[in-house]
Symmetry: C2
Subunit: 383 residues, 2 copies
C-alpha cells in the first residue's frame, strides 16, 4: 500500500518570536493536497505534532481542525505517535474513539506491540518513550538507556510479524550517524549517541520523526521525513516535504512543499536595504537574516529596517563594527566640537536633515539659558 510519511509539525512553534501558525496551516494544507494527488492509502505522522507539552489554544484548534479534516472529511486513515515535544497524556485525548475511524494514535510504549493491520501491511506505532517506561514495561531495572531498551522493544515487535505482510515501523528517536540541525531538542541518550541502524533491518520501511532534515539519515529502509517547515536558520538550505512510500517494495520518493514565507539571507549595506530598487526585487515578506556590510553604528537601525521588512529574524555585521581605535578617534573629535556643532551632528544622524536657521537659533538660546543658570558642566561652556 501507498503511504505519506510526515513528522515534526511542531504546531505552535515560533521562529525568533514570529508566530508560525499561518505558515503551518498553509503547509499542512499542501500536504493534504499531495496526499490527495498521490491517492495514498494512509498518512503517517511520526511525532512532535505540537511544539510544546502545553500548546496554546490556537495550536490546539489548528491540530484538531487538520486531523478532523484529513480523517473524517477526506477519509484518510491516520497513523500517528507522540514525540518528545508532545505531552503523551494530553495528545491522547480522544484516542480511544479515533480507532473506529481508522485513526490510530499511540502515545504509550505498551501500545507499540499491537500492529495496526491495513491491507498488505503491519504498522507498528512506537511513540517516543523514556528509559523509565521501558523499565516498567519490561520489569527490568537494568534498562537505564534507550539504547539498552530498544533491542528488547524491536525483538518484541518482531514476535508478532506476519511473514506474509510488509512491516513498517513508525518511531521518533535519534538513529546513530544522523545529522542534526539547531531546532531539534536533543534526546537524553545516557551518554551514547543514538540507536544503531542495524536494529531496524527487519522492517520494510521505518518512518522516523525527530530530526528536521530529510537527508539526516540514509539507510536503505529508513528515512526522517524532516519538518515540513524550516524551523531554524541552520535549516535554510534544506528541501522540505514528505516521503511517499510503497510499503510492499519499500520504495520511497520525496514530494517537496513550498512555504508561505521562505527563510532568506541578505548581505548588503544599510543604504541599499532601504533602497526601493533593491527591496522591490526581493520578497520582503520572507523571514530574513541580514548581514550588514556597514561598520558604523546606525541609530534606530531595527525600527528603520522593520518598516520595510516585517520578518527580520537576525541582523549581524559582515565586517564587524569599527575598531576601538577608530571609535576613539571619533570620540576625540567630539571633544573638540562646540555644543551647537554636536547638536547639529546629532540632528543629522537621527533625521538625515540639517538644522534650519530658526532651529539653530532656538538651540543657541537654549544653550545660553543653561550656561547662565550655571547648571551646565565645563563641556557646555566651550563655544
Amino acid at each position: 500500500m501507498k503511504v505519506l510519511h510526515t513528522a515534526d509539525w511542531h504546531i505552535g512553534k515560533k521562529l525568533h518570536g514570529y508566530d508560525l501558525l499561518p505558515d503551518q496551516a498553509y503547509i499542512l494544507d499542501q500536504i493534504k493536497k499531495i496526499a490527495k494527488e498521490e491517492a495514498v492509502d494512509a498518512i503517517v505522522i511520526a511525532g512532535d505534532l505540537y511544539d510544546r507539552s502545553v500548546p496554546s489554544e490556537e495550536s490546539v484548534r489548528l491540530l484538531n481542525q487538520t486531523i478532523a479534516d484529513w480523517n473524517l472529511h477526506e477519509g484518510f486513515p491516520l497513523l500517528a505517535i507522540s514525540g518528545n515535544h508532545d505531552s503523551a497524556t494530553r495528545l491522547a485525548t480522544g484516542a480511544p474513539w479515533f480507532n473506529q475511524a481508522n485513526f490510530h494514535l499511540h502515545t504509550r510504549l505498551a501500545e507499540a506491540f499491537t500492529p495496526i493491520e491495513m491491507a498488505d501491511t503491519q504498522f507498528y506505532l512506537l511513540p517516543y518513550f523514556e528509559p523509565v517506561d521501558a523499565r516498567i514495561y519490561f520489569e527490568d531495572p537494568e534498562l537505564r538507556t534507550i539504547q539498552q531498551a530498544m533491542p528488547k522493544v524491536i525483538q518484541k515487535i518482531e514476535e508478532s510479524f506476519d511473514p506474509a505482510k510488509s512491516h513498517v515501523l513508525v518511531s521518533h528517536f535519534f538513529v546513530a550517524g544522523s545529522s542534526k540541525t539547531d531546532s531539534e531538542t536533543k534526546i537524553e541518550v545516557g551518554g551514547l549517541d543514538g540507536i544503531n541502524g542495524t536494529l531496524l533491518e527487519a522492517f520494510d520501511y521505518v518512518a522516523l520523526g525527530h530530526l528536521h532534515g530529510k537527508d539526516a539519515l540514509k539507510l536503505a529502509n529508513a528515512r526522517y521525513s524532516g519538518s515540513p517547515l524550516k524551523y531554524s536558520l541552520s535549516e535554510k538550505d534544506q528541501t522540505k516535504g514528505v516521503w511517499i512510500v510503497e510499503t510492499e517494495t519499500g520504495e520511497f520518493t520525496f514530494r517537496e512543499v513550498t512555504p508561505l514565507h521562505e527563510i532568506q539571507e541578505l548581505q548588503t549595506s544599510f543604504a541599499s536595504l532601504l533602497d526601493p530598487t533593491f527591496y522591490s526585487a526581493i520578497d520582503r515578506e520572507n523571514y530574513l537574516s541580514i548581514l550588514l556590510e556597514d561598520r558604523a553604528v546606525i541609530p534606530n537601525l531595527m525600527n528603520q529596517l522593520r518598516q520595510v521588512y516585517p520578518r527580520i529574524i537576525q541582523v549581524e555585521r559582515a565586517n564587524g563594527f569599527e575598531t576601538a581605535v577608530e571609535a576613539r578617534l571619533k570620540t576625540e573629535n567630539i571633544k573638540e566640537k562646540s555644543p551647537i556643532a554636536l547638536t547639529e551632528d546629532f540632528f543629522m544622524d537621527v533625521s538625515q536633515n540639517e538644522l534650519t536657521t530658526l532651529q539653530k537659533q532656538w538651540i543657541e538660546e537654549g544653550l545660553h539659558t543653561i550656561l547662565k543658570e550655571g547648571g551646565a558642566s565645563e563641556c557646555f561652556r566651550r563655544k
Copy 2:
C-alpha cells in the same frame, strides 16, 4: 427516557492547597455506580468538567479515563457541554469522533440549535458562551449581555421542537433567584442578575450547571445538579449527589453520594485536639476547619495539629486571642522574672515538661558563661 444529571466536576480543583484528584476519582466512580443501578439511558454533564482552562496532565488523565470508561466500556450515551471554567477549544479535542459512540459534547453556541435526538427526547446542549459569541452568531451588535442574548437563543431552539417529543435543555449559567456559595466563579452578566426562569418554561427539564448547591434553584422543571463534592467551607452543609430524571414526565429524584473525606468543623481546645480520646472518636482524615477555644498564643501550633490531622483547611479562634491588657500584664510579669525562670517557662510552653535538675544545671552554666563574657544585656544580669 431516564437520564442522570451531573455537573461542576471541576477536575483538578484544590481545596485550600489539598489535591482533590483522589476524592474526585472516588466520587466519579460512585456516580457511575448510580448510573448502573438506575440503568439510566444517558448521562448529562452540564459544564465545568475541568476547574481550569489549562488543566494539569493528571486532571486530563482522570477525565479521559472516566469518559472513555463510561462511554466506551459501560456503553452510556453522554451529553456534555463546556462551562465557564473549561477552555471550549481544549475540551473540544476529539469531539468530532465522539458522536459515533453516542457521546455528544458541545462547546460552541452554534452547536446548541441542532437537537440530539434520543428515543422520546430532544436534547439541546447549550454550552457556556460570552455575549460576543451571540453578537457574532446572530449578527446583532446590540447583544451586549447574556440576558439580551438568551431570549433569542431559546427562541431559536424552540423553532426545532418536535411536539411529539420531550425537550431537555442542558446549560451552564446563572438563573435569577438562585443562591450561590463561595466556590463558583461569578459570570459577568452586564450588571443584571441572571436569566429569568420564565424563559425556560417550554422545556420538560432544564439540566443546569454552574451553581454548586442542588437546592440553589427550585423551579418546577429546572435544577442545578450541584458539584459532586464540597468545594468550599460554605458548602459544608450541602447534600451532594445527582438528579435522576424521567424526561417524559419531567419528574426528578436526588441520589446522594458520599465523599472520600468530608468537610468537618471542630470546636474545642488545643489540649483536647491532641488528646487521643478526642481524636480517636472522629475521622481524622476529613478536611477540617478548626475553631480553637484557647485564647493564648500557642507556639508551633500548625505543626503540632498536622501531626494528628493531615487535612486542616482552616484554624480560627472561637473567642479571639487574649486582650492587649492581658498580654501587657504577662509582659510585665516577664520583666520581673530571672533568665532561668523565663527559660523554665519557655521549656514548659513548648514541651509541656519541667526542666530536669541536670537540664537546669546546664542552663545555669550557659547563662553564667554569657554573663562573664559581657555580651549579655542588662536583662540577663538579674538573678
